[in-house]
Amino acid sequence: MRTLGGTIDGAIRPERPLASGTNGERRPAPLTFLVLLWLSLVVAFGVLVTLIVTIIIDGQGQFTGRLLSEYPASSPDRAGARPAILGSAWVIATTAIMTIPLGIAAAVHLEEFADKRNWFNRMIELNVQNLAAVPSIVYGLLALAFLSLLGVRDKNIVIGGALALSLLILPVIIIATREALRAVPTEIREGSLALGATQWQTTWRQTLPSAVPGIATGSILALSRALGEAAPLLVLGALVFVSFDPSGILSGYTTLPIQIFNWTGRPQEGFHQLAAATSVLLLGVLVLMNGLAIYIRNRFQKRW
C-alpha cells in the first residue's frame, strides 16, 4: 500500500490524468480521513505525554533520598518507600524463580514435543490463550483461596504474592517462549537429528540456546508487567503499614504499586506528591527493564 502514495513519475505522464487513481487522494474526504487518523495518534500520544508530565510535576517536591531510604510514616514529610522498593524486589525475584523455568518447560513441550492433533495438547493451547486474558484480580482470588486451604492465616507473605503473580504471567512467558522457539529454523533441528542427536539433545543443545534472546526478552517484559501489577496483591492484603524490611519469602511486604495506591487514597496533598514521585520511580524502573529487553533483542537476536 505504501507504494501507491507516490505519483506516477516518468516521461509518459499525461497532462490531465485519464483516471483519478492517485489524484483522488487530494479530495476533501480522503484528506479528512487522513487527518482523523493522525488525530487518533496525536490524542493517544498527547495523553501519554500529559500523564508523564503531570506525575513529574506533582512529584517533583519529593524526589529526595528520603523516598528511597525512609519507611512510611503518618506525616508525608517523613515518609519514604524503602519497604515498598525492597518488597517489590523480593516479590519479583521470587516470581521470576517460580515462573520462568515453568513457562519455558511448558512452551518447550507445546512447541517441540507435543502432538498438535492430540486433544489434550489442543486444550492446553486454547487454555493458555484464555488464561492470558483472565482479569488479574481473579488470580488474587485464586491465591487467596489456595492459602486459605493451606490454613495460612496471614496471607500477606512474599510467597503468596509471588504465587499470584507467577500464575498471572505464566501464559505471557509461554506465548513469548513459543514465538522464540518457532523462530529457530527447522534446518537446525533437522541437522542435529541427522547427526544422531536425540530429540531432547537437539532441543537442549541447539534449539533452546538459539532461542535464549527471545525468551529473555519475553520474560523481562512479563516480569515488568508483574512489577506494575497491584490488584492480585491487594486481594491478598498487601495494603498494610510495613515499617520493616522484608527478610524472606514468608515475610510480610508491600510493593511499589500498592504503596502508590495507598498514598493516592490519603486526603493530604503531601501524600499525593509522594504517590506521584513513587510513580515516576516505578516508571523509571519499568523503562530500564523494557530498555534491557529491547537491547537484548537487538544485540543478541539471531537473524536467519
Binding site: S20, L41, F113, Q199, G228, S279
Partner: protein
C-alpha cells in the same frame, strides 16, 4: 513489547511438522530413561496451565456455593441494592454490573476510534520507518502500570480537568474519569491486534482496488477493513474483556459506593472495584463477606471467559481466511 498481543496467541505452526514419535530411536540402541523423565516433566509443566484454570474454577465455585446457599441466585443477579456489610444486608449485584457497564462503555468510546485510527494509519499509511518509531511509543501506553493510570484519572482527569477547569457537577470520584482513562490504556490492545489483521490482508487486494481507480481511503474502508473485520472484531472483544477486568483504575477513580449509576459524572463501584475494596477489610474465611468476594469473582470470571472465547473464535476465523 508483547503485552498487547498476548491474547492473539500462537495458533498452530503449519509449516513445521512436529516429530512426536522418537525419530532417532531406531539407531539409539537402548531406551533413554532420562529423556523420558524430562519429557514427563515438560508435560507436567504444560499441564500446570490446565491446573490453574481448574484451580480458578474450584477456588471461585466452592465459596460461591456457600454464598448461594444463603442468597438466592435470582436475588443476586437481579437485585438492585448492593449492601453486603450493612445490618440489613442486601446482595443485588445490578449496581456493580451497571458501574462496570458504564466504565466499559466509556473506555470503548475512547479506545475503539483511537485504536482503529492508529491501526489503520500504521497498517495502511505509515512508511516502515515511521511505523518502527510509532509502534513502540504506542506500546508504552500498554506498559504503564494501571495504578499510575488510576492516579492520573483521579488527580488530573477528575480533580483538575473535570472539577477545576470544566466545573462539571461531579464529586470526588466519577465513572467518567475512570472509563476515559481506561480507554487510553486499552488503545494499544485494539491497535496492535487490528493492525496485525489488516497487515495480513494480501497486497493483491489493495492493488486490485487501486487498479480500479480507488484512492487509499476507499481501499482501506471498502477492501481492507471488511477483509480484516474478524480480526478487528476480535480486538474490540478483547478490549471489552480488559475493560471489564480492569481493577486499579476503577478502585482509585470510580469511587466505592455501590449504587445504580444513571449518569457518568456519578461515582460508582464496579465488580472489580468491590472485590479490591472488600478484600481490604479482613474477612474471616467462611464468613458471608468472604464468600461474597468469590461470588462476584465468579460472575466476573464467567463474563470474561465468555468474551475471551468469542474473541478466540474470531481470531481463528481471520487466521484461516488467507
Amino acid at each position: 513489547m508483547t503485552t498487547a498481543v498476548s491474547a492473539g496467541g500462537p495458533a498452530t505452526t503449519p509449516d513445521r511438522p512436529t516429530p512426536h514419535t522418537e525419530p532417532a530411536s531406531r539407531f539409539a540402541g537402548r531406551p533413554r530413561y532420562g529423556e523420558l523423565v524430562i519429557r514427563l516433566l515438560l508435560r507436567i509443566a504444560a499441564a500446570v496451565t490446565v491446573v490453574t484454570t481448574v484451580g480458578i474454577l474450584i477456588a471461585l465455585a466452592i465459596p460461591s456455593i456457600g454464598f448461594f446457599a444463603e442468597v438466592p441466585v435470582l436475588e443476586f443477579l437481579f437485585g438492585t441494592r448492593w449492601a453486603p456489610r450493612f445490618a440489613d444486608a442486601s446482595f443485588g449485584v445490578v449496581p456493580l454490573v451497571t458501574a462496570t457497564a458504564w466504565t466499559t462503555l466509556l473506555a470503548l468510546l475512547v479506545a475503539v476510534p483511537l485504536g482503529l485510527g492508529a491501526a489503520i494509519f500504521l497498517a495502511e499509511y505509515a512508511s516502515p520507518r515511521l511505523r518502527k518509531v510509532l509502534k513502540p511509543i504506542l506500546e508504552i501506553l500498554a506498559g504503564i502500570p494501571t495504578v499510575v493510570y488510576g492516579f492520573f484519572a483521579l488527580q488530573f482527569m477528575q480533580t483538575t480537568v473535570f472539577r477545576d477547569w470544566a466545573n462539571l457537577p461531579t464529586g470526588a470520584f466519577s465513572v467518567l474519569a475512570a472509563g476515559l482513562v481506561m480507554g487510553v490504556m486499552i488503545v494499544p490492545t485494539i491497535a496492535s491486534i487490528s493492525e496485525d489483521s489488516m497487515s495480513a490482508v494480501p497486497q493483491a487486494m489493495r492493488q486490485g482496488s487501486a487498479a480500479l481507480g480507488a484512492n487509499r481511503m476507499q481501499t482501506t474502508l471498502r477492501v481492507v477493513f471488511p477483509a480484516a473485520l474478524s480480526g478487528i472484531v476480535a480486538a474490540m472483544v478483547l478490549g471489552v474483556s480488559r475493560a471489564v477486568g480492569e481493577t486499579m483504575i476503577v478502585a482509585i477513580a470510580a469511587g466505592n459506593q455501590a449504587r445504580l449509576v444513571a449518569n457518568p459524572l456519578e461515582a460508582g463501584q464496579t465488580m472489580t472495584g468491590f472485590i479490591a475494596n472488600a478484600a481490604l477489610g479482613d474477612s474471616r474465611v467462611g464468613s458471608i463477606e468472604y464468600d461474597t468476594l468469590f461470588a462476584v469473582g465468579l460472575l466476573l470470571f464467567l463474563i470474561t471467559l465468555l468474551i475471551n472465547f468469542i474473541s478466540i473464535r474470531f481470531v481463528r476465523r481471520f487466521r484461516e481466511a488467507y
